[in-house]
């Protein structure tokens, strides 16, 4: 055991600063200038979107999206639009998409988010009522899109009922026991139909199904495909009347048993 003075601890912390003071490189300066130019090229009159629990989205795409809009608040820009009533046709049980339709949904998702195709596979593709959800997964990038069925395979740029996000800093898939699941991301977002919540993650090799139980009383059958699961459901923007929603899972296993998780 060693004892260090407070000054030594403070000095050592500064020595371990992962971002010490330094001059920007020319390349960094160029990127900063380019970023400034992109920012001031956007309308400053558009309200700043607010979102909870969203995964990271590409900055360059956000600025390239002319239709950027959303609610007001200290938040960060996201590719979501509007705020409306409900997802009336939503169903708690998903329908799987054919490979052809899933590929078309993936194409729309990539186009909307301007995600270059680096071989990401369609990890989950499902339909709930009139809405199509697709999760694209690759070694470093994952993308999630929610769109009305009639937008699948279409150009999404002129539409205001699309939600998309992507994460370019994914961690490696977790190593799971066969009967376990791992919720990788939960988030809330909105389209012109209103707010929704979604979850996605990984499942162990013995997991055949996942049911999400929400604090609002919904029991939602998640889509499970290979080692992934995903589900989404209509929700509300958080407020004093609608506090943050919570949920738990029932995991269905290959031997017919189930396991409840918090």
């Amino acid at each position: 055991m060693r004892r260090h003075t407070a000054d030594t601890v403070t000095a050592a912390l500064r020595d371990l600063d992962p971002a010490p003071s330094t001059e920007l490189t020319q390349a960094e300066l160029n990127r900063a200038d380019a970023m400034f130019a992109r920012i001031v090229a956007t309308s400053r009159d558009e309200p700043v979107p607010e979102v909870q629990g969203r995964p990271h989205r590409s900055w360059s795409r956000l600025l390239a999206t002319a239709g950027l809009a959303g609610a007001v608040g200290v938040g960060t820009p996201v590719l979501l639009f509007g705020g409306g009533s409900a997802y009336g046709s939503w169903t708690p049980t998903p329908l799987p998409l054919t490979d052809v339709v899933a590929a078309r949904a993936a194409t729309t998702c990539r186009a909307a988010l301007d995600v270059p195709d680096r071989g990401e596979r369609v990890a989950v593709a499902e339909r709930r009522g009139g809405w199509t959800y697709v999760l694209l997964a690759g070694p470093a990038t994952e993308a999630v899109c929610l769109m009305p069925d009639d937008l699948v395979g279409q150009d999404p740029t002129a539409r205001e009922d699309f939600f998309g996000s992507y994460d370019t800093d994914r961690v490696a898939p977790p190593t799971l026991d066969p009967d376990r699941i791992n919720e990788a991301t939960s988030m809330e977002g909105s389209t012109d139909q209103g707010w929704f919540s979604s979850v996605e993650g990984f499942v162990g090799s013995d997991v055949t199904g996942v049911t999400v139980h929400t604090s609002s009383g919904l029991d939602i059958e998640a889509s499970v495909s290979d080692n992934r699961f995903a589900a989404w459901w209509p929700s509300h923007k958080q407020s004093s009347d609608h506090p943050a929603e919570t949920w738990s899972y029932t995991v269905h296993l290959a031997d017919g048993s189930t396991r409840r998780t918090r």
């Binding site: 260090h4 601890v9 309200p47």
Partner: protein
């Protein structure tokens, strides 16, 4: 900086001044909390918020910097609302490197770096955040409190507790233990 927006040209100039003054500090703030390849994205997102809410940005430079840090923290906290549902944003430290530069340092300092690197992952994200805002980000208590959305006195209390916790972990760290990354997400 004025508190209200006037012409588009003046708005852009005010934003230019803010951007130039705060860019590097905001980039360093982000690099302490996200993978370096993601840091510029965070800066871009925060600066877009500032561009659109310029009238809300405090006039005083250090207060403006704290306001930007607060926006960045909100963004990162939302990004990381995963299984742990934490309200704090974890901070990473650099790796302990040993080399010729250490010849200028007292052995106690080198040992302290090793001990802190080992103890840091044992801290809660809230403790990491309090210490980092003060020591690494260089904020005063009122500025750090602004970032966290709490009162200055509450921040001072949080910082004091965090420092005590760090000291306790450092003092109990077995000699020779080195740091390791934060734990992976746990299966459910």
């Amino acid at each position: 900086m004025d508190s209200t927006t006037s012409s588009p040209r003046e708005h852009e100039q005010r934003f230019r001044d803010l951007y130039d003054a705060a860019y590097v500090d905001l980039l360093r703030f982000a690099r302490r909390r996200v993978h370096p390849t993601h840091a510029e994205d965070v800066v871009g997102e925060v600066m877009l918020v500032a561009w659109r809410r310029l009238d809300d940005v405090p006039a005083e430079p250090s207060a403006a910097r704290a306001w930007l840090f607060g926006v960045a923290r909100n963004a990162l906290r939302n990004t990381w609302r995963r299984e742990a549902r934490t309200d704090a944003v974890a901070v990473r430290l650099g790796e302990v490197r040993r080399g010729p530069a250490d010849a200028d340092h007292h052995p106690d300092m080198i040992a302290c770096r090793v001990d802190i690197a080992a103890a840091w992952p044992l801290l809660s994200a809230s403790d990491q955040e309090a210490i980092a805002l003060s020591v690494l980000d260089g904020l005063t208590a009122p500025e750090a409190a602004t970032v966290l959305g709490i009162s200055p006195s509450a921040f001072r209390l949080r910082l004091s507790r965090a420092r005590r916790t760090l000291r306790r972990h450092v003092d109990s760290t077995p000699i020779g233990v080195t740091g390791h990354p934060a734990p992976e997400r746990s299966p459910r």
